[in-house]
Amino acid sequence: MNLPVRVVKGSWQNWLGRVVLFGGVGLFMFRAMNEWSRSGLGLLTDALIIAIAVTGLNLITGYTGQLSLGHAAFFAIGAFTSAMLVTGKVWSPFFTDNIWTPGWTMPVAAVVCFLIGMVVGIPALRLKGIYLALVTLVFTEAVRALFKYGEFEGVTGGATGIKGFGYLPPSWTGLDGRSDLVKWFFWLSLAILVVVSILSAGLLRSRIGRAMVAVRDNETAAAVMGVNLFSIKTLVFGLSGAIAGVAGSLYALKLTLVDADIPIFGLFGSVTLLVALVVGGAAQNWGPFVGAMFYVFVNDFARGVGEAPSDAVILGWFVDSGTKINGLGGVTFGVLLILFARFVPFGAVGTMRMWRSKLVQVVPRVPAVAGVVDSRSSGPLGEEGSGSVDSTPSSIGAVESPGPIDPDRPDSPS
């Protein structure tokens, strides 16, 4: 048997691969829910929430090539929107006593973040690379400062934040209110991640998705070919922000409090999301999930390595439990990031794809004219209808695409 084995897209072998992959992940999730401890499941839920936000970031940074360090702001806006609506801090027309049902605040958070994201997308028309990254980073800190601002205390809670809300499982879930809270948030996060991933994969197959990749690969060329840069950038920034906003909303409901000083709402949140994206694999459909898992669990491992000397050190990277990684643990995590960047430069998923393509390649179905399955063309450019949105592991914003060419569709198993 010659390697690599070529599997025709849409054939039963291809479907078998997908079933094995999705089944494996599904089985893992099911076992985790039943067998893991509460804290382990809580950690897994955190990873899922991060994965949702990174899925949003992936749209704008991975596929459209606009480096954003502003997604912690959307995360924060989503969180505060939920907290404000649920506790009745702002007027709401549809619910009695101004109090929203927690579940309904998520779509509101998405809409709010979508609108703000569209506005944030406007500077992206003029700014590139690090300039855009810095502006979005300052946007993050500016949003945080506004939430903390004393004059707005009546609405945002000012420096103390908002406490005393939550999201108990509705009765149709059959979960018991308080004791199954961890499971409830786990399933809710998983469900939202699945929905968001499907929507994002659908978007990437559409006309808009191709325009996004065209903008990433060469903006000027894309504009010449008729892509409307203004619409694409503002729309994708909006969508991307909306997804991060839903994640933030979920995070707030799980944490049952919001406070502008929570690190993930600021600079470190933005950095966390970007690191998770790059570590998992930018412009890879499984990248956000793998990156978030890596981030949360390796971070947790590193935290176990070193004792915390004091909590004065800045990096309470992942704040849910209020613990911080410090000293030796922090050094370990930093060194792990360096090693990862050195040896897995295209992220876990990108690198696995490269290895896998040496064994198995998924090729598009060839029109029946030639009658051969094995007519592999030179690459994505030569392939009619392959639509390889993420055919090569992409670096952020970079035009060149080193590494072997892997003519896969985004939905093929890794």
């Binding site: 690090i130 670096s395 970079a398």
Partner: protein, 296 residues
């Protein structure tokens, strides 16, 4: 009037620190095209080295020079060991690696020196009566000294870039690495020297800031962010821009806190965002940055 002078000098002094750090960022950006996330933390580490050396009895100025050398070596090492093997493979991964360096250095400092704030002696006279009177306003000598250091560093950098062979080589590498290589410049050495220089400048900035701000593990976090804003404001590839940007930020901070009561220090970043947007939407590469012409 005297209050105005005082705030002006304070703004310029803080601005000088941001300008120094922004200069360091610009030197790295020109050679590697990256924002060095670890710049501030290398400075913090240097400031702790200064603290240890002065406690062992060395004079402050000598400690700072030695610490600058340490900063040079560490920063050069980061370029050689961490950045160079990655940058040709994936620029996105370099950001992650530099964030890793940031975290590792930050936590190393916490491991070695603990997290309690400590004082750092000032290299300039900084007693209660060490001030001069300018237009009726008492101005602390230490604050003027910081501004003086910025001017000296600028002068030295200008001399180095324009009058020495290595400066010429650095400009060539910033302009075009491949061509520089072809005319016989050792690009690798130049990159190492550039990063090292940036590390040394970063340590100097931290050592000047620490006496007034208090030396803690988070010393350079805020200044690093503001210096990045300054560098972007002035243009990431322009040393002049870095200085102008740094002074703009320092003055904005001083006057905003001083004169605009309802904003105060808490609203620094919203104001920065507005300034940044106004400047960058008019000039996308910053005030003094050079526009990149892109070919399709």
């Amino acid at each position: 009037m005297s209050l105005f002078i005082e705030r002006l000098v304070n703004g310029l002094a803080d601005g000088s620190i941001y300008a120094l750090l922004a200069l360091a960022l610009v030197v790295v950006f020109r050679s590697t095209g990256q924002l060095n996330f670890a710049q501030g933390e290398i400075g913090t580490l240097g400031a702790f080295v200064v603290s240890t050396l002065t406690l062992s009895g060395l004079p402050v100025w000598l400690s700072i020079l030695l610490a600058m050398f340490v900063g040079f070596v560490i920063s050069a090492g980061v370029e050689r060991v961490v950045v160079r093997p990655i940058e040709h493979r994936n620029p996105g991964a370099v950001i992650v690696a530099l964030i890793g360096v940031f975290l590792a250095v930050n936590q190393l400092v916490a491991m070695f020196w603990g997290v309690d704030a400590r004082g750092l002696p000032n290299v300039f006279p900084d007693q209660a009566d060490d001030f001069v009177t300018i237009l009726g306003a008492p101005v602390r000598i230490a604050r003027l000294g910081v501004i003086g250091v910025l001017i000296v560093v600028l002068l030295l950098l200008w001399l180095m870039f324009n009058k020495t062979k290595i400066g010429l080589a650095m400009r060539a590498v910033a302009n075009n690495q491949e061509s520089s290589n072809l005319v016989g410049i050792r690009v690798g050495t130049i990159l190492v020297v550039g990063w090292g220089l940036a590390g040394a400048i970063g340590v100097l900035a931290a050592a000047l800031l620490a006496p007034s701000a208090g030396l803690t593990g988070t010393l350079m976090l805020g200044p690093f962010l503001l210096a990045s804003v300054a560098a972007v404001l002035g243009g990431l590839d322009s040393p002049v821009g870095a200085v102008v940007g740094g002074l703009i930020i320092g003055l904005t901070e001083a006057f905003m806190v001083g004169y605009v009561d309802f904003l105060g220090a808490d609203m620094l970043f919203p104001v920065m965002l507005v300034i940044l947007l106004v400047v960058l939407l008019l000039r996308p590469s910053g005030l003094f940055g050079s526009e990149r012409v892109e070919r399709v």
